[in-house]
Amino acid sequence: MNSSKGIDRQRRALQASALAGAAFALMATSAAGAPLVKECAKDGKFVIGFAQANNAEPYRQHVNDELTAAAKAVPQFTLQIADGAGNVNTQTSQVDNFITQKVDLLLISPFEASPLTPVVARAVKAGIPVIELDRRTVGDPGKDYTAFIGGDNYKIALEAGKFTSDTLLPGGGDVAVLEGLPSSTPAVERLNGFKDGVKANAKINIVAEQAADWLPDKAQTAFSAMLQAHPDIKVVYASNDMMAAGARLAAKGAGKDVKIIGTDGLPGPAGGIRAVAEGEWAATFTYPTGGKEAIDMAKSILLDCAASVPTTVTVPTLAITAQNAKSLMGN
């Protein structure tokens, strides 16, 4: 490098402290290592591909909405969403297509972990940074893919369990659980989390647990039968909002006053926030989408030329209860 130019630059830097700060930041990043993406630039145009597991689930539509809104705020980004339609084969081929297109960054919510692992490895090998949302593939963030952003299903359900044992049923009683699709990872994690959460209170009995596959109609049928068999059920924990809505219909049909807990905390007229605000359910625990966090991370990788990003970002859950539901409805 030309030395006189260097001196020149120093002089200018002294004149403008803001510029000096920027130069320092630049030096700091280059000292930490090469940027994750070579073609990064403040004024570049970038395509972000998002391989969504299944658009048909209201929660995932909510993720798409939040991601789309966050990406729209960044004029340099174009977001493409592919719907894996709940099928590992479809989702694999869509990620393959994103690789063919050479998207600048891949976001993925893998429908299942190990089946999507090979294609994520292909993307990484092709030099595409991969941020996993909500569910992760096999391997370690920072090594086998760039980063993971999401909630923790187990912890969210654990919170719901503690809420049940401490707040709803401190005196104990019968509790029922509506599980998601059997053999799907989040269903297992939420089931285990809730069970561990109520363990502290020995007077709580989980008298019934049934899989309702995340669906409101199956939940209604299952919970009706549970209420027949166990008329003293005081609390039902549903592993998602839709099943909670089904449980509510069943309780209403049986004329029982059962406290209902949902999971996901979706917005909108069919979502859990409204149901809690209007007193239909006792609570719901949000499953954060991480959409905003993902776009922020994409910004630091693609626009700010970050050399490293946090490899795991756990977005905390928010308990939605009678106290805060009404004010959240406004948002």
Binding site: N87, S93, T100, Q101, K102, E112, S183
Partner: protein
């Protein structure tokens, strides 16, 4: 129901309908899926995003993406073609794929069987499952629609039982709880990362099926059963055995697809393969095989499968949303069926 259509089919030479004259429409229908495939490919080239002067749609890795994505449903569609030519239907295939993937994973990982015994056992179970459906359907004179609908439920239920409601990961290596590493080849791509092994299985399956359907007595019998069952029976075709065997073939195909699924995705899951029966039936219908039985083409089925895959691919490359893909597929199925119906009417066959 008696066949009122006067169809001058000579049994057992019903494989190729005797065409009294060159019929342009019939010609178009016979090759409709090939024509459709060519049209989709041309559209793909025209609308393909271009990078550095290369047409993305035609890039070798993109072609590999397309043919890998359709390998499982393609294998099933090939089996389904046999059933549909006999005027039957098999709705259990997707569930049977899932059961087979679960069985493959369980046997290798939990039970500790070797590769060959596992694959053989899964294929036998699949074929037997299909044969039982065929037997029930013929023995009790039940619509195959109902029998295989029940079969769908049974296969899903069995998959949940075998997997114990968990999805079963396959890890590779030597020793207990690990699958033979060679099995992972199903997820690989050979020859400089261009030829997916899953596709090779599909191609092998399709080649054997084409030969069986077009050159053997077995194939001619299948067309005969679908064309006119009574006539076939009268002329000594073992109709019941043929019907049972076509369901055994779809069962075998589903098991093979399930093995490919387990190998590609390193797991067995009781939830997978949902809706595969409909994709496979769509590919068969687009391929020019009549749901009324008696006519059909294996090459057409393969072309139909590839066409559906190419269509999904080009729509995604252009970032066109999933809803439109479904609409496009629906429109193509209707078009294929309408073309077939026009030909049938022209031939004076009314059913």
């Amino acid at each position: 129901m008696p066949d009122v259509g006067a169809r001058p089919t000579t049994i057992p030479h019903g494989a190729s309908k005797s065409a009294p004259r060159i019929d342009l429409l019939a010609f178009a229908v016979r090759f409709q899926s090939l024509i459709g495939l060519v049209l989709v490919a041309i559209g793909g080239v025209i609308f393909s995003p271009v990078r550095h002067g290369h047409i993305l749609f035609l890039a070798p890795d993109n072609i590999a993406n397309i043919i890998r994505a359709i390998s499982e449903t393609g294998i099933i569609a090939v089996g389904m073609t046999f059933v549909i030519i006999t005027a039957g239907i098999d709705l259990s295939v997707g569930a049977l794929l899932s059961l087979s993937s679960v069985l493959t994973a369980t046997m290798m990982v939990s039970v500790g069987w070797g590769l060959a015994p596992t694959l053989l056992a899964v294929l036998v179970v699949g074929a037997a499952f299909g044969a039982v459906q065929g037997w029930i359907s013929t023995r009790f004179r039940l619509e195959p629609f109902i029998v295989t609908l029940a079969g769908l439920q049974v296969a899903r239920g069995l998959a949940l039982v075998v997997s114990n409601n968990q999805y079963i990961n396959i890890s590779y290596g030597d020793g207990p709880g690990l699958a033979p590493p060679i099995f992972a080849i199903l997820g690989d791509r050979l020859f400089d990362n261009t030829v997916p092994v899953a596709t090779l299985v599909f191609i092998a399956f399709a080649v054997v099926a084409t030969i069986v359907l077009n050159t053997t007595r077995f194939g001619r019998y299948i067309f005969a059963v679908g064309g006119n069952e009574r006539a076939a029976r009268l002329s000594g075709v073992p109709v019941t055995a043929m019907k049972i065997s076509v369901y055994a073939i779809t069962g075998l195909a589903s098991a093979a697809a399930g093995i490919v699924h387990a190998g590609q995705f390193n797991f067995g899951s009781a939830n997978d393969g949902t809706g595969y029966e409909l994709t496979a039936i769509a590919a068969v219908v687009i391929g020019g095989t009549s749901l009324f039985g008696g006519s059909g083409s294996m090459v057409g089925t393969v072309a139909g499968s590839v066409m559906l895959g190419a269509l999904a691919n080009i729509l995604q490359l252009n970032n066109i949303n999933a809803a439109l893909q479904l609409l496009a597929t629906g429109a193509i199925i209707v078009l294929a069926a309408v073309l077939q119906s026009l030909v049938r009417r022209r031939e004076g066959v009314t059913r």
